[in-house]
Amino acid sequence: MTAPAKAKAAPLAELKGDLAVLKEKFGDAVQPAEYEGVVIANGVLVEAARFIRDELGYQYLSSLTAVDYIQEGYFEVVYHAYRLEGGGPLVFKARTPRGVATIPSLVSVWPGADFQEREAWDLMGIRFAGHPNLKRILLWEGFHGHPLRKDWKEPYYEEEHKPFSSRWPSGHHIRAEDRVFWHDNVQYPLDWDPDQAEDTSDEWLYIGMGQFARAETGERVEPKSLRTERLVVNMGPQHPSTHGVFRMVVTLDGETIVRLEPVMGYLHRNHEKIGERNMYLQNMPYTDRLDYICSMSNNLGYAIAVEKLLGIKPPERAEYLRVIMAEFTRIVNHLWAIGFLLNDLGAFFTPALYAIEERELILDLFEEAAGSRMMCNYMRFGGVAYDVSDDWIARAKELVYNRLPRAIEELDRYLTHNELIQSRCQGVGVLPPDLAVAYSTAGPVLRASGIPYDVRRAEPYSIYDRFDFDVAVRYNGDVYDRYLIRIDEMWQSLRILRQALEQIPRGEIQAGKKQYMMRVPAGQAYGRVENPKGELGFYLVSDGSPNPYRYHIRAPSFINLTALNEMCKGHKVADVVVILGSIDIVLGEVDR
């Protein structure tokens, strides 16, 4: 099966609102794009971005990603910027011919673009001119090629798109390993000689860090009385505090952190490439494996993005079920996050197990409804997979009215006023509000820094506009507030759950007939939801075939890590563990 010729739509006829202002300001450098947004000429991109941020008020850069339009011969970088007061995005794009593949970096405007641009360089091979530290982020230095380019093929490559024709009607089983000469998941470039190969990743890493450390010495006050030495400490990849296989390279001055560089990608499987090989529906169970604590809300985000392209709406009961599952997931995640934050603080597993106990009860409900405790795979396009019984609703109510409020109250009593926790957490890892926005942090990290930004309110999806709830916000931006905001959010989730469980109507759970291979109209869509860890976005480009042309995930854990260096600077090395715990990352989502 070959990819169908990509039918491109005509550019937007006229620009409205802020796009028109942008056009007026920059004239011919701003051209309307297909489907949505504008294309900005590379020459004025940085200037235009600054204008968008300062004059138009789109302060929050949510997502930055690249698309490889191989037939047209150019790369397109897509930016989604939002206003903090809420509302829709301002979508702007930049293009570069495939041979040149260079676009001005926006790190000087939005520091939050840092990791996202590095990701685009790593996977798509687009150089961002002016990026202070442009090196690979998910793959290692020396990796051959840029996997998300449409002409890059993986070692176990079979066909461009699933379903693979070898499976049916004459599907004699072949092990994937046997497809490759080396019987392993590797492929070597033609001119590559293993005897000559050298691993230079670490060298690159330290060079990159050195630049920063030198720049900072100018501002730093050297202690006179005690002569200390710079020391590089590697925490991880195998370290119990890193919540998975994650490495932090810390430059220390004595015990104080000068610079911290997260190194990730140990769990990288190129989820997005797999997603582009898959059919739309086949991606649903894969989204479970992103943030595996919150599979239900990952499903929801993906379903919403595809539904935007399809233009369908699920029936009422399905909408309620989705909200119920998503809010239960939020409670599960926050309990887990608090439990393991306490582990990181040294309270080994007692608080974590108290929290996990409640989580188990919610997972029982998930298991009964969806068939699996963690890999739920529950949502479908235009509905949900299975209905729940009245008994299920009754048990959910029992949890929501009796068990969970008591458990959260107990957790609060147990931990909040504990002086040890207070002294370890208060004033540690402070992220001021302006930086929280600039670094594109999302979710509890953003809201604990005093920015009441919640996608459920800012740009309501599903039926969140019907429920009565408050956006939790705390103002100190330290680890303690990031702990408190999770407690606050659990209370708000319970409020939503009570309303949803009372109001849930009877009826259908699926709009139309369920299809496994549907054609999605050509277009582009960015669907985002407020995941427990922050804003989860799916950027989809459809060319009208049964497989997505581009499938990008704005992973909240990944982008929240951009601010980790900022939070850790100046603290002691023992605090790194706690600060990382307070961001609450899941490596399945960070590394993708």
Binding site: R167, G171, H172, Y354, G371, E410, Y414, Y516
Partner: protein
Amino acid sequence: MIYGIGILKGLGVTLKHFIESYIEDVRYLFEGGRYQPRHLPARQGPRARGIFTVQYPKEKLPLPENFRYIPFLVYDTQENKIKCTSCGICAKVCPPQCIWIVRGTDPSTGRPRPEPEAFYIDATICMSCGFCAEFCPFDAIKMDHDYELSSYERYESLLFDLPRLLKPDTYHAQIHPSDWARELAEKEAEKAKKREKAAARA
């Protein structure tokens, strides 16, 4: 405010949990011990207190009907045939593409025959998503409840072939009672329709 009150209050919570577990133990003592199977729903229910753990593998949690783990093929014991018609929908919808089917052919005519000649599921790749069972139009493939599949070897014993995959429909009826009831009702309705048609024709 005296420093340390918060810690003491917090430790009170731990103490409560500690004492509660003994109170529960004593309570269960009069009811035949905590590990009686009949206590399991209460011990794992929303009102559970005290120790929350399950003594796996001595005791196992009951599985809900929807639980899904590695598919199996249903063998129709009444008509003595494999229900699968080798239409290939499961192989197409499978996200990791772990289903391999050889479509059956009639040796005399060479035309496709509605029965699989060979059917493989690579359990090392299967992600237990349940799409195959969800989209099968013949109710021929269902998700299993048997989750204890560990083996000493990674390849041959986890590549399930047709004999290994086939399970009788009585087993399916036992683990999926409501799904089975739906199937029977549908079959009944179809029969009634046929009878009606025949009656109308006569």
